[in-house]
């Protein structure tokens, strides 16, 4: 039995030369396919005359500001709501929670434009909650608030999922030991659980922020495309493509660089898991 297995293994090894060239060429093709457009943005942007001027135009600056402000507000709200939620999902085991847990992932898979329609149907003027919101003087659709809502809707799952995994990686035995050392549960959470879960939490934060700042479909559906009010960077890029390709390229470069930064952060935290070290 063992011998047969060993023979299969050696046969496989001897077949390396056959598939290696195929593998290498496919990989090269793929790298080109992904890499060329990225390089193209940078090259075209560099060739663009008056790139800085278009970057400093009112619409671009407004889009940049709006994206930064809304994404930061969204992330703060996501952390405040998502952290205790993730802890609950990680530590308690019940059928209801399991159901909610799988629901959390829905916005990741749901097409963003559908999310936008769904939010309109819920919080829009004609939506289910529309009359209620109206009666207390709140109109959400086509406001900056709607931008934030759309971002939270699509970005929160990335944070909650990562934070949940982070909390799950901290064995409750550590928390038990911490308590026997005279440290209260609340202090234990801050002194032990959060630091130990932080690699996962921070990578979730980076992912969620990247998702929030690139939000497009739900925003344009639920918040519209109003300059200075709801026109975030991705929306401004689309709008500028028709009139000022320079502005479009400039914003694209900024979003591209932001993505690369997020990738670097993710890579950094992927190598910094405490559990892997012990």
């Amino acid at each position: 039995m063992l011998r047969t297995f060993a023979r299969i293994k050696t046969e496989r090894r001897s077949s390396h030369p056959l598939w290696m060239p195929a593998g290498i060429s496919v990989t090269l093709l793929y790298v080109l396919f992904i890499g060329l457009p990225v390089v193209a943005i940078l090259v075209k942007a560099a060739q663009q005359k008056g790139l800085f001027a278009s970057l400093l135009s009112d619409t671009t600056i407004q889009a940049l500001q709006l994206s930064l402000v809304t994404s930061i507000i969204s992330i703060v709200i996501v952390v405040i709501i998502g952290t205790p939620f993730a802890l609950l999902l990680a530590r308690k085991d019940s059928l209801v929670l399991k159901f909610i847990d799988s629901l959390v992932e829905l916005p990741i898979i749901l097409p963003p434009i559908v999310a936008g329609v769904a939010m309109l149907m819920a919080f829009g003027r004609q939506g289910i909650l529309g009359p209620v919101l109206n009666s207390v003087g709140i109109t959400l659709p086509f406001t900056t608030g709607a931008v934030i809502c759309a971002q939270i809707f699509v970005a929160a799952p990335f944070y909650i999922r990562a934070a949940k995994l982070g909390f799950q990686s901290v064995s409750t035995d550590y928390e038990d030991v911490s308590q026997t050392l005279g440290v209260s549960p609340w202090q234990t959470f801050w002194k032990l659980t959060i630091p130990l879960a932080s690699p996962s939490i921070l990578s979730g934060l980076a992912l969620a922020w990247a998702r929030a700042i690139s939000e497009f479909g739900a925003t344009i559906m639920f918040a519209g495309n109003l300059t200075g009010k709801t026109q975030t960077m991705p929306l401004a890029i689309l709008t500028a493509m028709e009139s000022d390709i320079g502005a479009s390229l400039a914003l694209s470069v900024i979003l591209l660089l932001a993505s690369i930064v997020v990738l670097i952060i993710l890579g950094f935290f992927a190598n910094k898991s405490w559990r892997a070290n012990l």
């Binding site: 038990d176 050392l181 070290n277």
Partner: protein, 364 residues
């Protein structure tokens, strides 16, 4: 002092026993895995709540079901050392030790930490992280961390499980020292006889959540009175026998293996001899092996057999001798094995004193 009486039920496991440890003394909880030893420690530390009973640590009651008293673990001041130590991986050695100290008195805690680092031979490792030090060092850090917040009791769960014998001795000495200088009660969970004898002022044998035996380690482990206790602590030879003769003058009785007429073995006179049968326990290390019978010796038992098995039993070997049907396990060193040229099939004499045998009975 620790005094506790508790029951704890979970699914089909039931724990029902009491624990008493005096200040400056150590109690060894001895038993197979799943006996409930760790559960007892966790209940005393406050990590689980017993179904009923009470727990007293020092002068204060930390749990009393009837009076509805429940003190949370972080207010109990109990040092608890887990099997895996659970050093906090994001903190350096000195920060691990300082973890439970309040941040108000920086100077005094710095002095305490350097004192502990020295006491546990950890000087120079202050800034290392847990994964950068050896298993033995990790254990000493965990012990120092538990002692840093001056606990009123110390609970050690299998503290030696992952240490080599030299380190074991060092830590054993360390725990002995803690007992003498800090005067706190210590409970140690172990399943090693040698550790139990070396560390315990008292031993409590536990099986399926109940106390089987309790007393001085030498007595309980040396002459276990019950068959279950004997098999738990690993008496290698347990032989059911019929009593054929008793001599009150000599204080001995003569037995033969049940349903056989030889070999005859002389054992101390014990309880249950009226019934005509008994179970005899003999330690593998109490049997001498020889090529020839020793004439004119004080050893009352000399029986011949052939070697049926040779197994390694670190640091030596265990020989299984087939003596006309009964199997005797005997421990010898590697040197003896090679010098005596013992092989499977060799014919040997097993020699042991009557007083090396002890009566083991399920129901005394």
């Amino acid at each position: 002092m620790i005094a506790a009486e508790m029951t704890y039920r979970i699914e089909d496991f039931e724990l029902d026993l009491s624990i008493n440890v005096n200040p400056g003394e150590s109690l060894v909880l001895f038993g197979p895995s799943g006996a409930g030893k760790s559960t007892i420690l966790r209940a005393i530390a406050g990590l689980i709540e017993p179904s009923s009973g009470f727990i007293q640590i020092g002068e204060s009651i930390v749990f009393d079901k009837d009076q509805k008293i429940w003190v949370p673990p972080y207010k109990r001041k109990v040092g608890y050392l887990t099997q895996q130590y659970h050093l906090f991986p994001h903190l350096s050695v000195s920060k691990n030790i300082a973890y439970g100290l309040s941040s108000h008195s920086k100077d005094s805690s710095a002095a305490l930490i350097s004192d502990l680092l020295e006491k546990f031979q950890l000087s120079g490792l202050e800034n290392r992280y847990p994964w950068e030090i050896s298993g033995g060092q990790q254990q000493r850090v965990a012990l120092a961390r538990a002692l840093a917040s001056s606990p009123r009791a110390l609970l050690l769960d299998e503290p030696f499980a992952s240490l080599d014998s030299e380190l074991r001795r060092a830590i054993l000495n360390e725990i002995r020292r803690i007992l003498t200088f800090s005067k706190i009660p210590i409970i140690v969970v172990t399943h090693e006889r040698e550790e139990a004898v070396a560390i315990g002022d008292e031993i409590q044998v536990i099986d399926s959540g109940h106390t089987l035996a309790k007393g001085e380690p030498i007595k309980v482990l040396g002459h276990p009175g019950q068959e279950r206790v004997a098999s738990l602590i690993g008496v290698e030879n347990l032989i059911p026998m019929n009593i054929v003769d008793t001599s009150t003058a000599e204080g001995t009785m003569t037995c033969v293996p049940r349903n056989m007429d030889s070999p005859q073995i002389e054992v101390p006179l014990g309880v249950g001899h009226e019934s005509g049968y008994t179970t005899i326990g003999i330690r593998a290390s109490d049997i001498i092996l020889a090529h020839y019978k020793i004439e004119n010796s004080s050893a009352r038992n000399q029986i011949q057999g052939t070697v049926s098995e040779i197994n390694t039993n670190s640091p030596g070997y265990q020989i299984t001798l087939n003596c006309s049907g009964i199997l005797l396990r005997c421990n010898i060193t590697g040197t003896s094995l090679s010098e005596m040229d013992i092989k499977t099939g060799s014919s040997l004499w097993a020699i042991f004193k009557a007083s090396s045998c002890f009566i083991v009975q399920d129901h005394p």
